[in-house]
């Protein structure tokens, strides 16, 4: 029994009938229903700056034939609204005729519990914790200039109704806890940011004083940056630390391996399937099945169970990430990568948890092999032009390496590289793979979805560092 049709003038079987009738001559499509509750509580400048609760519900009705997608969405779940959407879809596809593909794999796996993190921790205790964060950080001395901390929690219920009454459901918790601190010393100001999160309750990430670890890490990064010198400019060797720096892989390789760009031949990777695109020691997967991870999904937003997709194996390009539409047009199967930000958005092939697997070298071996270069430990965001393959990401904690030794911290700088060639420049792969702390959001075509990344330390032979010092 669906909750979505409670208090409406339509019931499940009537909705199913509209779906089946609308999609009769289509290749694919579904009615996607979503109920999304979220909260944000922000402490800033010694005060609770805002507390916001959001409640959103609606549907997205999609019909697909050939390459054409017709989509209509609304937050009015009613007979009249669905009827209008149905007509709109049929009108767009009136000259097309398709055959509905009823096949969709089933799963009994679940990668997270159906909990509502917003309700599983009291409002008072969230406010208390934010105040504790503020007091704890400010007790570190007058060097602390500004503290911001926030809770972001959500619970999303989705229901997918396909033609002929196939119904698929998922309930997804998600939380994120962030701390940002600004330190000031001798007139110089620097920021440190750290956060944790995933598909569990807040307390799973914060219990036993582990919130202090989050504060300490933000403080440490800011403190390091207070001592930073201008970053060098030009091509040099780069050692990346494990974990979050894997946004390099997300930007450089991940986006270029999404099915839509390759079907449309706009990706720099579209003619490289089966070819060597990385050094031999490099294996990269995109895994939606890790328990409670931020990028994990039991089923994707088309109802396909997620999987662990091998993208690059020992340097050879093996698979793209696919949703149903692009898989059908490319003669392959969905990899459970069809995602959307909300019912207001069409499905696109997207990443989940993108990971480079461990190799055999230690981080020390990498650093000691570098005469002149940089060691990058933490990053802000990144971006890629998938057509030219050029990508960037911003260091938020990095050091110079001189004669095999880690030297002074350097100011935040952008690193730029070329996606299809960068992985051939990876000369050593570390034995220390680490997952990121669960804070990533990926943007594509105006849609943000939660993702994860992981990697071991790696040594890149040559990359351009965008500092100011020549």
């Amino acid at each position: 029994m669906s909750n979505f049709f409670k208090n409406t003038d339509i019931d499940t079987s009537q909705a199913e009938a509209i779906v089946t009738k609308t999609l009769k001559n289509c290749d694919d499509g579904e009615l996607y229903l979503e109920n999304h509750k979220s909260e944000s509580i922000v402490l800033d400048d010694n005060k609770i700056k805002s507390s916001t609760y959001n409640s959103d519900q609606g549907y997205g009705f999609r019909a697909v034939t050939g390459e054409v997608v017709a989509y209509s969405h609304s937050n009015d779940i009613s007979k009249e609204s669905l009827r209008k959407s149905s007509e709109n879809l049929k009108d767009t596809l009136k000259s097309k005729k398709g055959t509905y593909n009823h096949e969709i794999p089933k799963t009994n796996s679940k990668y997270y519990e159906n909990i509502n993190p917003i309700e599983s921790k009291t409002f008072d205790s969230k406010i208390d914790l934010l105040n504790s964060v503020n007091n704890y950080l400010r007790s570190k001395g007058s060097i602390v200039n500004q503290v911001t901390a926030n809770f972001l929690g959500e619970h999303k219920s989705i229901e997918i109704i396909r033609s002929d009454n196939q119904v698929l459901k998922d309930d997804r918790p998600l939380v994120r806890f962030n701390v940002s601190v600004v330190l000031e010393k001798d007139g110089k100001k620097e920021t440190g940011v750290y956060g944790v999160g995933g598909r569990q309750s807040y307390d799973d990430y914060l219990k036993d004083g582990s919130w202090k670890d989050v504060c300490d890490e933000a403080f440490r990064i800011a403190n390091v940056n207070l001592e930073s010198k201008p970053a060098p400019a030009g091509e040099m060797k780069v050692v990346l630390g494990p974990g979050w720096p894997a946004i390099l892989i997300h930007e450089a390789i991940g986006h270029g391996l999404e099915g839509d760009f390759n079907r449309k031949k706009t990706s720099a990777f579209h003619n490289l399937m089966g070819q060597q695109v990385a050094s031999e020691g490099v294996t990269i997967v995109d895994d939606g099945t890790l328990h409670q991870r931020r990028g994990s999904l039991t089923i994707d937003d088309e109802g396909t169970p997620t999987e662990n997709t091998v993208l690059i194996e020992n340097g050879i390009l093996k698979n793209y990430m696919q949703d149903r539409l692009n898989a059908r047009l490319m003669g392959t199967k969905s990899t459970g990568s069809g995602r959307r930000e909300s019912y207001k958005h069409v499905v696109l092939p997207r990443m989940r948890n993108t990971m480079m697997l461990s190799g055999k070298y230690s981080q020390d071996e990498m650093i000691s092999s570098v005469d002149k270069g940089i060691f990058a430990v933490s990053f802000g965001g990144g971006q890629v032009d998938i057509t030219s393959g050029k990508f960037v990401f911003n260091c938020t904690e990095a050091y110079e390496i001189n004669n095999g030794k880690i030297g002074s911290p350097i100011k935040g700088a952008t690193l730029i590289g070329d996606g299809p060639s960068i992985l051939k420049e990876v000369s050593l792969v570390g034995n220390d793979m680490k997952l990121d702390p669960g804070i990533g959001t990926c943007g594509k075509a105006g849609q943000g979805v939660p993702v994860g990344v992981a990697q071991p330390s790696i040594l890149i032979n040559k990359m351009t560092v965008g500092g100011t010092k020549l």
Partner: protein
Amino acid sequence: MIREQEFLKDIASYCIENSKKLGATDVGVKVIHSVSENVSFRNKKLDESNRADSFAVNLTTYIEKKKSSINSSDLSKSNLEKLIERCIDATKITPSDENNSLPDKDLMSKEIRDLNLYDETHYPNDKKIEFLKKVEVTASTDEKIVNTEAGFTENKNNFILANSNGFLGGYKTSNFSSSCVAVSTINGAMERDYEFSSTRFLQDMMKPEEIGKIAADKAIKKLGPKKIKSEKIGVIFDKRISKSILSTLASAISASAIARGTSFLKDQINSEVFPKSINIIDDPKIEKALGSQNFDSEGVETNSLKLVENGILKNYLIDTYYGKKLNLKSNGRSGGTTNLYFENGTLSFKDLLNSEKKFLYITETIGHGGNIITGDYSVGASGFMVENGELTYPVSEITIAGNFKEMFKNITLANDLEMKYSTNAPTLLINQMTVAGK
């Protein structure tokens, strides 16, 4: 179609009355309806059609100096009743903050001027399809173009903003936009570029042929880029990205950044931040313009503001909350700038290109490498080398870096300002930035 004011007013009043009944001392609410229709094309064929019909309520309740908010898309009174209750409950237990309040009554917008922001024309999907065909046919004439994507979006919005001090106002706005992305190729390597047009009125849009041609020409020009050597050089920002300098300024002079002490321009009010020749204006009352508004997101009257006059920083962007922290009155910038622009410089585009022997001309930046606290700036870039006033060859896979404080002081503007976005700047030169390449 788009709902009328009366319908939205009814919801707004319901929210205010019920919040007060449950104990709110002050209430602010916004009710929005928007309808959007989008058609997209790829390689001269229909790719996607998308229709969106959405409502939103944003409610903030105050109990004395305590404050909490809710947002919802479900306008049914049964849902709103539950959410208002939840909002009041949260307000009661949120710690109070002496700066929380509705805006001063005497600052509120008194009359709503018709700024010509709404074109009721409906452009049916069949017409959009015809338009897009023309865009793509023109974009794909050259055989070096291997892929084209184009889209047309029509938006209609209506809203009501109200508060418990008696303010109530709102109006309709519209937007028509079309864009084209062209992918060019040579020797297996690809480049991508785009053009777009976005206007309040359908009749003001660029011709479809023009959009397609410009996108294709730009994509072809970018083919075969070189990576240049690292060096210090004058960097010219194309109009597409020169406006980002103004967006940075806007973030750095927002009352929140100033009050929190997290701006590289803190304590710079009435100081020379730009060269003497530079004036920067934020004008909300330009007819038909994309950033125009009668009042800000709190209902405070907005008027034209000189942010920078003869190079001197004259005003912050102030809302009610951070205004109180700074002991300043709101100047109607809750929600940010409106139509923000540099007044034109004196040099023509051509003269600017000729003002030195060699420049780097940047047409695109990628990454988010600006730090508002320190002013440090480092982003990925692509564009062209300029030698003796001519664009000689395309350049990519480089970064440009500097510090905004220095960059601001070394700006020279051309005189080719155009009002294409809500934030607009002419072509501009920044003397000496560090370029990292080979």
